[in-house]
Amino acid sequence: MSGPLLELEGVHTHIGAYHILHGVDLQVARGELTVLLGRNGAGKTTTLRTIMGLWHASAGHVRFDGQEIGAQSTPEIARKGIAYVPENMGIFADLTVRENMILAARGAKNAEEIDAKRLEWVFSLFPAMKKFWQHPAGLLSGGQKQMLAVARAIVEPRHLLLVDEPSKGLAPAIIQNMIAAFRELKQTDTTILLVEQNFNFARQLGDQVAVMDGGRIVHSGTMAALAEDEALQQRLLGLSLGAHQ
């Protein structure tokens, strides 16, 4: 099938009395990494949570693979092959790394049932996961927790990966590690929607880019075009993003 894998059309989302998304139009192309940029409070996380069904859109359409998913429950959406890595990582701290991974590989009853090749591949991306396999996830470092959150999302092949600010609070060396892992992941034709504030991080990974402000998409295009056009960057992203570079 052609057409975008994920499409949002005029999506409005309210959280309680607050009107957060004011008609988001967003397309995520198959097999590409789309970066959603924007300052704090622009509605990036709400967009991801709306796709995942954690908030329901009050108006507009969310289509996945051409199918309307706006009214479906979170577990149903997850079962379609959409994985979500929230900003707070949402790892299960009392469970071991191994148990976290088994939970994510829904079909597997135990570690032996996870596809061994796939697991080796995840380990090659994040060697720390192999090292701390039997450790409670709550005792990992911040960077390792982030790696576990991503590893958990990719332990089974997914159609679409939603990742919220994977670079947040990580040391530069670990960010490089994370970039390498996402590059590797791109080779597998996984479609990724990545929310970022760190333009430097985003620039190294994105194929497409969409910029949000005030609950709307204010710019979309290729990352290459945005990366070259400094005036546009200045206008869209302002100084708040410049600080990260």
Binding site: P75, A78, Y84, G90, D94, L95, L103, K109, N110
Partner: protein, 370 residues
Amino acid sequence: MLSRILSGDFPRSRVLTAVLIVVVLGLALAPFVFPGARALNVAAKICVFIVLVASFDLLLGYTGIVSFAHTMFFGIGAYGVAVAITRMGPSWAAVAAGVGVALVLSFALSLVIGLFSLRVKAMFYAMITLAVAVAFQTLASQLSDLTGGEDGLSFKVPELLTPSFSLSETPFLGVSLNGKLISYYLLFAATVLLFLVMLRIVNSPFGRVLQAIRENEFRAEALGYRTVAYRTASNVLSASFATLAGALLALWLRYNGPDTSLSFEIMIDILLIVVIGGMGTLYGAVVGSAIFIIAQNYLQDLMKLASNATSGVPVLRDLLHPDRWLLWLGLLFIISVYRFPIGIVGKLRVNAWIKARAKAMAAATAKGVS
């Protein structure tokens, strides 16, 4: 083999292993090591509470659901056996019918409570269960034709379990082999079996999802698990095990009334044992029940000894008077909650884990790997 029996969930701490072995051996040999009716009653109560508290931990410790209706299911089990035997006479068929009806009733009630109220916030769920439990308690004491009201029901048990039934004329190791002994070992075997089944459940893929829900319900949903279904299943399972514990209690006591199985004091005891033993570890139910019930039954005796020994010291003598035992029990709880905020088992496991990690780190540094 051992790994299969324990579902791969080892104590993971040497101290804990030792304590568990002592408790299990103590219970297994109780009639021979601790002779006397009182000691055997204490051992039997520990067995019943292990099942009851473990079933509550399934709900509170593993799924993170706070319920106050647990004694209701305990009571349903006990009343099931009591009412059935009173009506049908002391036969095994009556026991089976009582347990069967009680299980069906508990299943239906817990399913309804779960489906209706697990969608609401934790606090409201706790309140709803409290309301239902109080209503049930009132119902049990009002329906005196069926339940014996406040007086409860005394009944006979199948002949095999009565003290007058004798296996052999000659006592074995100084203990007469009568129905009471058979009764105790039936209870002990049921406890071991039910505990191992629960251990299997919490270590199954199903149990892992329950723990994931406890830690982060949204996250579990985002991984594709229908959390309401899992929470309801946990509610139903927990209620069923509590019902079985109630049936065991009634069979052992040959009596059941509102105060023995439905009272709110039992609910508080359960909560205390879970917290002291360690939430989210079934072994905590074993350790907690043993410590709690032994303290509850023997603290007074211990204090009598201490009071007599200090009869010359004015204030201390009064402080240690057996009538003050509740004060000391309360102090023991406060100390244990301060000292072991994650429960005795939780603390022992974390200690063992930290030790193992320090060792691993030292080994890694020695090899020159950071």
